[in-house]
Each structure stands twice: as structure tokens, then as C-alpha cells.
Symmetry: D2
Subunit: 344 residues, 4 copies
């Protein structure tokens, strides 16, 4: 039994306010498959917050499902998606994208981000029918290594996409933390300007379950409920996810929870930095990657849950520490104390 788990941001159930919505609406009879009043209210609310009346909103149960269905819906059989070699779809979805028939063209990335010139290079290489045809650019914000896109970076990617007939799609598993980063200048409503499609992650930001897929580009909206049903994503009790998103956006809880997660990570990072340790990436979100001596890592693992991320050099590895809306300051401070004590 460890003192605390920094393994991930989905170790707890849901924020109590979201359980309250569930309880409050539990015995109301509602329509099935996402046509209930809770989903409808949540969809309207999200469109309003995004400032995009044209956006189509669909709720699904998880991020891999969201990525798989959106990409399969956007691509013709011979088309591919461009992504960083570190992208979740490229590594940690057990081939879910390929299972729908599509290649991922990966490009190198140290910080988990894609650059416009990398996108252009992939497009330029794919010249004829012996090769796949890139059609979608996949990015994450925050990325798999805690970094974020700034507004001008997003718009530059959007520009290279439009110039080449590509769609720009953003995996928002940790969108809240990405947007609430102290260094972010991206507004929620900027997303609809820059992106053709994205999803707003609920599971890793306080919801019991659920992600909200946003199809901003009207050309991508037709037939999407068919795609959802065919991939097993249309929940009979869609109300469950609708209620979570209603709770998350009613009083901007979504952004508050992300800020709390980022603050906990910031407190943790500051302490680790003060103790003299460097970091693998420049993270201002709720995942941080300090580089620690392997012996210290081993001692810490006896007390705390977290993943060893990558061997950096002999005797030193980067670990991943993840905080959430539920992470108490005391646990952060306790970790820092143990770090100092054990690292001495």
C-alpha cells in the first residue's frame, strides 16, 4: 500500500458535483442513445461556450474510441493520418487506427508537438498511388509529454493543413489542462477557428466517464451517428455522459478542475526543481517528467505510485508524475519531503 498514487489523473471516480447530477436525474425517464434531454442541454452549452452554433457535439465513452471513430469517419480507405511518433494513436491504442484500415505517418518529435514544416514534408513525399495519401493531421493538447501548443502554433498548423487539403484534428484527452496552463494563450473559442474536429476530454478531468467530440467543419458532420453506432460507441444510456458534461460546463467546473490539477503539478515541479533535479520536457500542465537517479526512483516507488517513463542516461531516468483535481496539497508536500529525505 503506497502513500499516494501519481500514476494518472483517472485514479478517482468523479468530482462530487457530477455524481450529484446523476443522482438528481436518476429516475427521470429519458430517450436512449444520446437523444435525451441531458445530452441535449450539454451539447447546447458546449456550443455556446465554444461560440460555435454550427459545431456538432457527440459524446463517447473514451479517448481511444473518440480518436478511432473520428479518424475513420474523416478518411477514405487509402488515406492516412500524420502524427508525432509519440502520439497516443501511434503507440498506446493497440493499433486502433490501423484496425479501421488506415496508416499513421509518424514524424519525429522530442516535445510531443508537430511543426508545419514536418506536415509539409510528409505531404511532399507522398506523390502517387503507390503510397498512402495523408489527409488528417493529429495533434494533442496538452501533449503526451505535458507540453502545450500556443495560439500561433495552432494557427500555423491550421494554415499548412488548409493549404494542402488536410483536416486538423486535436486529441483533447487533457484539453482542460492544456488550455489552463499558465503559458497558454489559446481561448476555448479559438479551437473552432483552428480545428476541423477535436474532442474535449472528460475522463481525465473529473468526469466519471466521457469525452465530447466536436465536429466543427460541417463537411464532417453527415452520418456521424452511424459511425458511432457501427463502432459500438452509442450508449443506450447516453444520459450518463450527457449528465457529466452538463455538470462540467454548467458553472465552468471543467476549467476549475484543470486549473487545480495544473496547480498541484506546478507545486510538485517547483519543489523538485528546488531540490536540484532537471526535467525531460517543459511541462506547464498536470503531467511532469523529472529526471531522477535510478536508486532514488526505486526508493520513491516503495512509497508512491508513478511510472518510469524513459531511460535518459546510465543511472538516470525520467519518471512521470500526474496530478488531478483531486490531488491534495498535503500529498504533494509529503512527496517533496520524501524526495529530499531519500535523495539526500
Amino acid at each position: 500500500m503506497t502513500k499516494y498514487s501519481f500514476f494518472n489523473d483517472y485514479s478517482e471516480g468523479a468530482h462530487p458535483d457530477l455524481l450529484a447530477v446523476l443522482a438528481r436525474t436518476n429516475l427521470d425517464q429519458e430517450d436512449g442513445y444520446g437523444k435525451d434531454s441531458l445530452c441535449q442541454q450539454a451539447e447546447a452549452l458546449i456550443r455556446e461556450k465554444l461560440g460555435s452554433p454550427q459545431a456538432a457535439v457527440h459524446f463517447v465513452s473514451g479517448g481511444t474510441q473518440a480518436n478511432q471513430i473520428v479518424l475513420a469517419a474523416l478518411l477514405r480507405p487509402y488515406e492516412s493520418v500524420i502524427a508525432a511518433v509519440t502520439a497516443h494513436i501511434a503507440v498506446h491504442e493497440s493499433g486502433a487506427i490501423e484496425a479501421t484500415g488506415h496508416k499513421i505517418n509518424t514524424v519525429p518529435s522530442q516535445d510531443g508537438k508537430l511543426r508545419p514544416e514536418q506536415v509539409q514534408a510528409v505531404v511532399d513525399e507522398h506523390t502517387d498511388e503507390h503510397m498512402v495519401k495523408p489527409r488528417v493531421v493529429f495533434i494533442s493538447n496538452s501533449t503526451e509529454v505535458g507540453t502545450i501548443y500556443r495560439r500561433d502554433e495552432l494557427l500555423a498548423l491550421a494554415q499548412v493543413c488548409r493549404a494542402n487539403g488536410l483536416y486538423l484534428y486535436l486529441d483533447g484527452a487533457r484539453l482542460g489542462c492544456g488550455l489552463m496552463s499558465a503559458e497558454s494563450d489559446v481561448q476555448f473559442s479559438d479551437l473552432c477557428t483552428a480545428l476541423d474536429a477535436f474532442y474535449i476530454g472528460g475522463t481525465k478531468n473529473g468526469a466519471l466517464i466521457g469525452e465530447a467530440i466536436i465536429l466543427q467543419n460541417p463537411q464532417l458532420q453527415a452520418g456521424f451517428r452511424h459511425h458511432l453506432k457501427q463502432r459500438g460507441a452509442l450508449l443506450a444510456k447516453g444520459r450518463l455522459i450527457g449528465s457529466q458534461f452538463l455538470g462540467l460546463f454548467e458553472r465552468d467546473l471543467y476549467f476549475q478542475l484543470a486549473r487545480r490539477a495544473n496547480a498541484a503539478a506546478g507545486r510538485l515541479a517547483a519543489g523538485i526543481k528546488a531540490a536540484g533535479y532537471p526535467f525531460l520536457t517543459h511541462s506547464t500542465t498536470n503531467q511532469i517528467f523529472p529526471i531522477l537517479p535510478d536508486a532514488l526512483i526505486e526508493r520513491l516507488q516503495a512509497l508512491y505510485g508513478f511510472y518510469v517513463w524513459a531511460r535518459v542516461r546510465p543511472g538516470f531516468s525520467a519518471v512521470r508524475l500526474v496530478t488531478s483535481w483531486a490531488t491534495p496539497d498535503e500529498k504533494v508536500d509529503e512527496f517533496l519531503e520524501d524526495l529530499r529525505r531519500l535523495g539526500a
Copy 2:
């Protein structure tokens, strides 16, 4: 606003006991992706109730997902599944099975059930490599039209499957109601004797979400978590489904809720029969299909929610009325009163 909805058995949230498990465990830190203690307890409990220590138990979010993943896992690319023409996979899953590359060989059925001789006939027709090779037999209990399999019928199907090297799979979206039917002689533990794989439906029997896939045949168990992940079915907060099944099986709530749903349907059917109307199928479960004059149907639809199922003859259609654990006797009685009044 109608008086009451008989549209389906997933109009409400969850049985209050299941919300209570959620609330009780909400802030415990748990492992992700179904490796949490709630899932583990639920799995052990289900194996115990089934009397099958060897069974592998996996939780997923819905029935289409369960069917799609199990069938894709059982079949090689050129293999097919045999099902009744009324089967959920054949009609109401938007081609989810074909989307994984497999043909469904449908056979005629009035009562939603498959017979061993039909299975044998399909096998006999598929003789060479110009045709698919049938490998799985798909059945439902209760079926899509409310009927049930008796124990000897299940065992006869199992026998024809084994004789032909086929797997027998059961869609248990409404397994509780099937087993709790007054006419059923199938024990919960019989399932592991007759079937290679099945799922226990939670969504339509009181859970907020979730189905429990049972892989009884050890040959089918390897790699299944890979299949789940690849199809987007491995929930980060798998604990959500684990907690539902823990609540459902801790004190046999699963069976009690099914009995309540069947009892409500029985009360409804008895009243309709007494009013002189015939039925499309012989249902002893929570879906009944009375045949009513179209004019009466129209008047009833102004007051109650339900689907018109099929035109039976000019001026008469079968409707589908579905009850659940949450259906109050007063609503049943109110419907019967309105039926008599409006049908007079």
C-alpha cells in the same frame, strides 16, 4: 409529454443501490483500465455465481461493443457467424460485425430463435473456399422478440456446434429476464456448460452502464484485453462498470430486478389478453408484442411512449411494450385502463 414510456428498459438511470456503490467508493484511488479492486471483486463474484473458476470476465460499456469484439476475436478473416434474421447483430448494429470484416449468415426465424437443423443446413451449404466458413452461432436470450430458450434447446444447439467445430455465443443484453422467465429452466450455471462465450447485460437490467463478457472456453481467452483496447472498449475508469456489477451480484440484485421487470410485463400482458388482443410472439419476459388496431395504437401513442414493431395485416400492427425494474404497477394499470377505454 406522455404519461409513461414503455419504449425500453433503459429509460432510467440506475437502481439506487448501484449509485450507492459509486458514491461509497468514489474517492478511493484505483488502478485504471479494469485492473481496479472493484472490477476484480466483481469478476470473482461472477465466476463464483456461474460456478466456473476458469471463466474469463471482461467488462465493456454496451451490447453492440460486446458483440463486435467477441465475434471479431473468435473469427479468422474468412469466417462467418450464423444468426437469426431478426438478430440484433443482423439488423440493429449498423453493420458493426461486417465492419470487422465478417459476414453474417442469416436464417429465417419467426420467434427469434435458432434451431439445430438450421445451423446444420448452413454448415452443409458452405462447402468450399468460394464461400465463407461459418464458425460461430449467435443467439440471444431472451430474444429480440421476448422469447426464451429452454435448457434442452440450448444443449441441442451446443451439441450441433461442437459436432461441427462451431462456437456458441449468446447475446445476454436481457439475460436476466430470460433466466427469470416463469417458463425458463436454465440455471445461471448452465450457461457455462452450454456456451463458449456470452455476455451478461447490465445496461438493460438496472446498471448505469455495462455488460460483462464471459469467455468460458479457455481457447478464446488469450489476447482479449488487446482486442478490447484496439476497439476502444478498455475504459480508463473501468471501476465504473466494476462497481455496477459488484452491486448487481452482491445480493443477487441482478435476478431480483429481472423478476420485477418480468412481473410488470406479465401484469401488462394479462390485462391486454383479458381485453381480447392477441400477441405476435409468446413472450414471458419484459418485452411483449400485442397486436392492436392501428386506430387504437394512434390514440395510445398520444398518452404513452412505445414502438410500433410490425404491420401484421391491414389495419392491425404489433407494438412493442417494454417494462423494467423501475416500472410501477400503477403505470401498468393506468395503461390497461386507457387501453380498455380507448379500445371500446
Copy 3:
């Protein structure tokens, strides 16, 4: 060793004129993958004969490949194809269409043909996202049971397709025999009026190998070489198929060979009819289905190769006799003599 095989119309190699084109061009250096001068000439010639300058022409090696690639190219993931229950894609392609992810909606047919009202009925049944969305109508001419479509029948199907936003696709494995039937009033150029896409079968009409896919509808033409490559259909030596179609259409050999095949079948059918036997279908093409006593069939099978097609009633079965451009009149007459002798 039998006297002669009526098993099929691909028992021989190629018409000698087509081998001559191969030999004549054998050592010319040509571009690969269908960009050679032989393919280009053949494409231009076919467009000219069809009277359709806009048609895209692509060569592939076989009929299943043609059907699979065209249908996969026309359909989005959740869309389906409507076909007769006897259709080649529904029965004899080992699930090739489903392997690309698509359901086939089959409708009953005695004569292998589809009717507009059947198409409309399937469309009308598929109302929401719980079901696939029909998008293509698949027909064959001649059909799998030797029958043909008349011009008004094709146009009526085209009309119901256009009215419902469906594509009309024709499998022309035996298109030559279909068009050259004495009862056909369909001109070669009518095909481009009625159909969105089809293929002209070479393998079963004298070619060593090859089918010519015609994409008449310009909306279907983009990216098709990508589809071909991705499904393994772009032959490095595409010239092989180009040369066959050049030979077939240079001096209308394609139509002459079909007429010869039909004439041989007609001679055979007339003799069988004169001997007093009925037929399963009304065929005026190169596949005929006489109904014979089982005992006679057995005796004939000792001397000739042919398939028993279907048990018609106790003691009597329909057999399939297929002729080709290569069937000598003497073999037909010899069969008829044996039929009379053995049937006496």
C-alpha cells in the same frame, strides 16, 4: 477423363488473336502499373465504343477483385450494398465485400434479377443510425442464372437509384453474353446512361485474364488508382491486361466471341428442350439450367463435366451447362446424342 467440360467458360486459355497481341508486343519496353501504351490504347478504344469520353477505365485481374474494389471505393464505412440473394457477391466471393467492412442487404430473387420496388423497400426499411445505410445497388448482366435485363428494366433501376441517392453498379463478368442475347435490346452505349459503374468481363469471354472497370460517374473517379494499389490490384505488368482488351475491342472480337458462346448454348438448349426437358430459368445466354432426372445426371457426369446446381424436387435437379467461344458444335451435338441415348 471426360469427353468435354461444360463446367464453365474459362476452361481454355485465350482466343488465339489475344495471344498474338501478347507475342507481338512482348519485348517492347513499357511503363509499369497500367501506364503503358497498350493499356492507354485499350482505354481509349473502350471509351470510344461506349460513346463516353468521360468514363474512367481501369483494368484488374478478376471479377471478385473488381467487385470488391469498386464497392469499397463507393461506400463510406456504414453504407451497404443491395443485391439479389443469388448475387455472386452475396454467395461466391467468400465474404470479400464484408472483408472491406460492408454489409450486403440481400433480397429474394428467383431469376437472379432485382426489381425497383425491392430496392425501394430496402431503402424504406433503413431509417436510422441503428441500421446500415444502403448506398449501392448491385446487379449482374447476364445474371448468375443466365437471365438478362432489358433496357427498360435497367433504366427503371437507374431511376429508383437516382431518386434515392443510390449508385447503380453492374457486375459484367458475362456482359458480352448478356448484351449479345437474342432477347437483349441493351446497346453497349446504354450502359453509360443507366449505370454509375460496371465492369466488362474479359476472363469469361476469351481473354487470358482481365476485367475492365468503368467508372462512368465522375464523382467516383478520384483516387481510384490508390484503391487499386491498396487492394493489390495494380499489376506491375498491367500491359498484360491492356493487350487483352486491345485485342478484344480492336475488331469487336469481344461481341463476336459472346455471340458464339450464346449460339452454342442456344443449340444445346434447343436440343435439350426437344428431348423434353424443362429449364430452371429462362436463359438466352451461355449458361443454361435444364432440369434432369438424377439418374440421368449421374450417367451424364461420367461423360461430361458440369455442376449440379440445385435440387428441384425429389429425383430431379437442375444442372448448369456453360458454353464459351471455344465450344465446338460437335461437342454440343455429341452431348445431345448422349442425352437422348442415356435418357431413353
Copy 4:
């Protein structure tokens, strides 16, 4: 009009001996779909030459088709194939492998070859169900850049595969040239010792069409004709490919043609080396990659057909020159003369 094309080794039709087999057998009536006597003789002959009575032999029309079908047959849905980043399947098959649902795990390679330690590293990285499970190792011989595997290298790969439960598959599009390289010590019969499956390329070694798939591992043989049919690879006139392979192996023509192609490339390479130009890879087969000044390349392209392969450094690129059994020495000498003249 250029003087000569060094674009590829499939610019001509077939070796005249292979056309002769076609002509000789043209009007014999044969069974369809690869069950003819020509295929049967060719299969037996290949098994004999391989010294492997247990090997299953199947003929298909092209290399992409062979790769796609074999890999799809070997893999379960979540399994992947390991290949060099330069592999044909990774770059030049338009996503054919992904179209069957499988990820390719690519590893860096300068010389087109895979090393056992690279295979082991990929296996070691793929630890759980969030990632695909590598199951097949894909290699080519000769490789896409003209290099070859030596016997000990093949056996070392076989060993790492067996130790990790992987299958070893070889793409033999240019197997003849690989085996006939002056530096090769691999015997034809060694293939069955080292490999689970491979294909013998005909198209690029003198055949009009066709590749012979060899399934050496008995576990991989079941159901393969179903796989072929389902992917559109079972040619009605399979005799066409059978006759080519009969001609290729009857008097060891296969190996003679490969030696001739290699000799032409060797003559070309020697002349280019003598003229002072370096090479991108160490090729002893029929594809060579000299590095030339861009200005010279441009002048040569006015006279000869060939591809520019890769920019090596500013002002210099590697080109690909391919020879075949049909390449006359005079054309090689003419090219060398022009190279000296234009490069002066």
C-alpha cells in the same frame, strides 16, 4: 523517346519460353481457380526444388497481393509486423497492410536489412495491451536497395523469431537475384529451413505475371485458399500463373534469368565505379544506386529512363538503375559511354 529504360525489371513481357508454354497449352480444357494440371505440376516442381514436401504452394498475381494476404492470414487483429523503414510494405503498398487492420512497426535501416537485435528491441518495447503485439518479421531478399542476406544472417533472424514466438516472412519479389548474387551463400532449400513463409517472385524475373507463395510452416496452411478468394486473388484462369512457374522451374530458367539480370547490373556497376562514382548501397544484385551530380543526372535522363532515388547531399543524388534478364550488354555499354561523355 529514350534509348533504353533502366526504370525497372518488369518493362518487357515474358521470357519467350514462358509464352511458349502458354501457347502450347492454350486450348486444353483445365479446371479453374488454380486446380488445373499446370498449377499442380508447378507446385510439385517447386516443392521438389525446395526440398520441402510439406510446403504449401499458392500462386497469386502480384507482390503487394502476396504480402497483404500472407500477413493478414498470419496475424490476429491486434498483432503487428516488424519491418525496415524502407520495406515495400511500409512505403510502397499504399497502406495495403494497414487496410487489413494491422500496424507495421518500422525500424531504421540504411541497407534495407533487419538485424536480430532490432527485432528483439521491438518485442521488448511492446509489453501490454495498450500496444500492438508484434507477431511477424518481414524481410526482403534482395532488399529494396539491392542488398542481400547471407545464410548466417537469415538463420540468426530465424532464431530470434523462434525465441519470441514470431513468424519470419520473406518478400521474394527479387528472390532470384538475391540468391544468384555472387556474394550469396543461401541455397534455395535453405529458405524452408529459415522461413515460415515467403514468396518467389515471377513478375520481376521473366514471368508475364505471378508470384508463388510458399507456406512452409504447417500451422499457417489451413484455410489459405479462403484467404486468397476473399482478397480477390484466386484467378479463374489460375493456369496462367501455373504455366509461368512451370516454365520458370522446368529447366531452372528462374535462376538463369536472375543471373543474367545480375550480370548486366554488375557490368553497369563496374563501369560506373571505373568512371569514379560512389554508390549509396553495396548491391550485388540487379538494382544499383550510383551517386551522381544532379546536372549529370539531368543530362542522362534525356537519354535513359531511371528513377532519382534520394538526394544525398547538395548537388548530388542517388539514382536507381535496374537491369533484367532482357537487358542487352550493348545497352549497358551505351549507357556507360554516355555517362563518361556527359560526365566529363
